[in-house]
Symmetry: C2
Subunit: 319 residues, 2 copies
């Protein structure tokens, strides 16, 4: 077994190839990266930290850990309507973490770097006496003034969500219980799909948007709070995968609405743009479902058979 | 004693004020921050991770931990000739870390945010079962094409360093041994001074530059490697504080050259610009010292009484 190389060797061998030749990365050989925005572009920047045992499991394959770290950040860019241009990685490694693990991690970044055409631009590696931890900062661009904010929802707007929700929460439950279950669900937990095409398509259509990480209801609560509105969601309209319906049965809709880690986009749209937003989603081959409406007031209500459901767990807090 | 608030409360109470009203921070209430570069500006981005027990000591005051985290990143921007415009913070907190500690940490960020007029633009807080860890990403701007790279040193250039070196290494030695010693040295270890004014003044004058974190000789080695040159440093020319000379005596110059964590700027300058660079440093009230020269070849030599010193420890590796 090969001993683990030092910091500089790790960077040169495993991480420098991830720059994909991006000139601003300076081969990861400088103190900083250089970003040259084009005229009329604005930059959208997001950061997420992931800690083993909190955001992923010690037994998760290293390439899926890397891919999740990148994808949750790309998902934030997608929710803002941004196109990714690169990312920065701080990797905190336990001393006994094997070189094979780190290589697997880099392989995951390489795979998704290629898939999403996004280079690493810079980073830092350090040791830690604690669990493996990392922080990833992703940078994207939007045309001036076109970022989708959380603050633009208005009474009368419609509420949509992409894909299906609850899959990742069900997958986590199965993975934690070391239960066998539909591989799709566990894959959805491990490697979420950033909705980059949909995000771009929603520029100028969505009045507000975000990605579902804390849980659909909790996240819509963020839109409601920042926009100063109330949001009503109909449980029966929630898009659920058949496997989630089978696993959680009559509780499926309510559990899916709070379980989090979906990384689907939830967004509001003025009612007059309903047809346009449905056409735009279709054009990028991303299913979306109308699940509720924006009203005057505050907070989020999940209606089950017409009555607001009491939600005991308003969503994940990674804290 | 007040219980520690949750993630959202921490952000609203302690971190949102650190935005200093920067519009792009969106009150830390969105998924991402928005940066609007001015025409002709390029962005310089750098990331550093810090782990308790590796980069700072558990007994270090929380405000100085925060200030160091910010300053080591500002120092990277300084070395590139960039002006800071904001930063992103991922904070990984042990469950038992007190609210008082976190408040102290935020106070340190507030103090230096004011001092350097730099807002927080975004971030993430999460829990960890390990030591407190954080990653800070700083963003700065330079006029197009004016970033100072590591790669521009040419044979015949002069080598300079700012301030004095070895202070932080001596301070760390004192702090680790729990020895009393000159308070200045410990302060230099805990709270380095980013040389932002000097960095800006060096645009168009320095052919290459970086900040001294791994150790003067190791860092000049980075310039030598990336520039494809050799660098010769005269031990007797190294700028040392009287307290460092007293502590380390006849070994002072050699130890100072390898001990690291100085966060002074080391840079190369074409010989024809010697007078201009000395005047530019004077204008920003930052002492600089000419310590060597760039030659054809590879590697760094530290000359002691005319002979290359064998260096057993080529600098810190935080790894």
């Amino acid at each position: 077994m090969r001993a683990r190389p030092g910091e500089f060797e790790l960077i040169a061998e495993l991480f420098a190839p991830l720059t994909r030749g991006a000139p601003g990365a300076l081969g990861l050989q400088d103190d900083a990266a250089l970003i040259r925005p084009r005229a009329g572009q604005e930059l959208v920047v997001t950061t997420d930290g992931l800690v083993e045992g909190v955001h992923f499991l010690a037994e998760d394959p290293p390439d899926s850990v890397a891919r999740k770290a990148l994808r949750v950040n790309l998902s934030d860019l997608a929710a803002k309507g941004a196109e990714p241009i690169g990312y920065f990685l701080t990797l905190m490694l336990p001393q006994d973490r094997s070189f094979a693990w780190i290589k697997g991690f880099a392989r995951g970044l390489a795979r998704d770097g290629e898939r999403f055409e996004v280079p690493i631009l810079g980073g830092d590696t350090t040791s830690t006496s604690g669990p493996l931890a990392l922080s990833l900062t992703a940078v994207g661009t939007v045309p001036r003034g076109r970022m989708i904010h959380r603050s633009g929802a208005r009474p009368g707007d419609l509420v949509f969500v992409s894909g299906t929700i609850g899959d990742a929460g069900a997958g986590l439950e199965l993975a934690q219980a070391a239960k066998t279950g539909p591989a799709d669900l566990i894959a959805r937990y491990r490697v979420p799909e950033p909705r980059l095409g949909l995000g771009r398509a929603l520029r100028g259509l969505a009045s507000a948007g975000l990605d579902v990480s804390d849980g659909l209801i909790a996240d819509l609560g963020h839109i409601a709070e920042v926009s100063g509105v109330s949001i009503v969601v109909e449980a029966k309209l929630l898009p659920l995968a058949p496997a989630v319906r089978r696993l959680w049965r009559e509780e499926a809709a309510v559990r899916a609405a709070v379980c989090g880690d979906d990384y689907e986009l939830a967004f509001t749209v003025p009612a007059a743009r309903r047809a346009r937003v449905i056409a735009a989603a279709k054009a990028v081959h991303t299913p979306i479902t109308e699940i509720g409406r924006v009203e005057a007031g505050a907070g989020v209500r999940l209606l089950v058979q017409g009555r607001p459901e009491k939600l005991t767990k308003r969503g994940w807090r990674h804290f």
